[in-house]
Symmetry: C2
Subunit: 121 residues, 2 copies
């Protein structure tokens, strides 16, 4: 797994925010709007992806497990191992809904939908 | 432990960045400039604190363990359980040095200096 150029592991949140995200078909699906942090567990809950008008969902955002983002230096953005159809059908939230139930509602639904192993126990 | 108003656990990185940080004497010591994220472990490595001219260190930044930041709603900022003298003598880094050795140099020195239990194993 590789990340932002020159860094294999540490990446500043301010550099992550604004980075483009591509799906497995190589189509740009949106950008990282924010990263949700877990105050109590020291874990990164999920990346908040905004899809703009691409999926026709207006102001809705997706929670994507941090571990699903793979930095592609050639594209200059993250690639997620999900298809356009998968992303289209994924749970989407308003910004306020993302932090509902301490962020666990969006987090749990996201990890479940994308079948990513939870980082919490 | 409490965090940003209304959230007990989930907090967006963009809301953390720019927040003031106070020491145990109630003095504002600086602001959160960034949050360093660990791509591989899904962990939050540390908060990057800029002290401006306050400690007379120019462009140097401190790595503070995420778990050491306690949000104080009355002050509208984070309080760290460290004195002015402790912070003054703490390891400080340029922005580039913070990501050296995958961020582990600054991270390990910080957790060691502030005697915070590592989140990694």
């Amino acid at each position: 797994m590789t990340t932002q150029a020159g860094h294999t592991e540490a990446i500043a949140a301010s550099r992550v925010i604004g980075t483009s995200v591509y799906n497995t078909e190589g189509t740009k699906i949106g950008s990282i709007e924010d990263v949700m942090l877990d105050k109590l567990s020291n874990g990164i809950m999920f990346a908040v992806i905004g899809f703009g008008g691409f999926l026709g969902m207006g102001e809705k955002y997706h929670a994507i497990p941090w571990a699903s983002l793979d930095y592609d230096e050639d594209r200059g953005g993250y690639v997620v191992p999900f298809s356009k159809d998968q992303l289209k059908a994924a749970p989407a939230y308003s910004i306020n809904e993302l932090t509902g139930a301490d962020g666990k509602a969006a987090r749990d639904a996201s990890y479940n939908y994308y079948k990513v192993e939870p980082y919490w126990h």
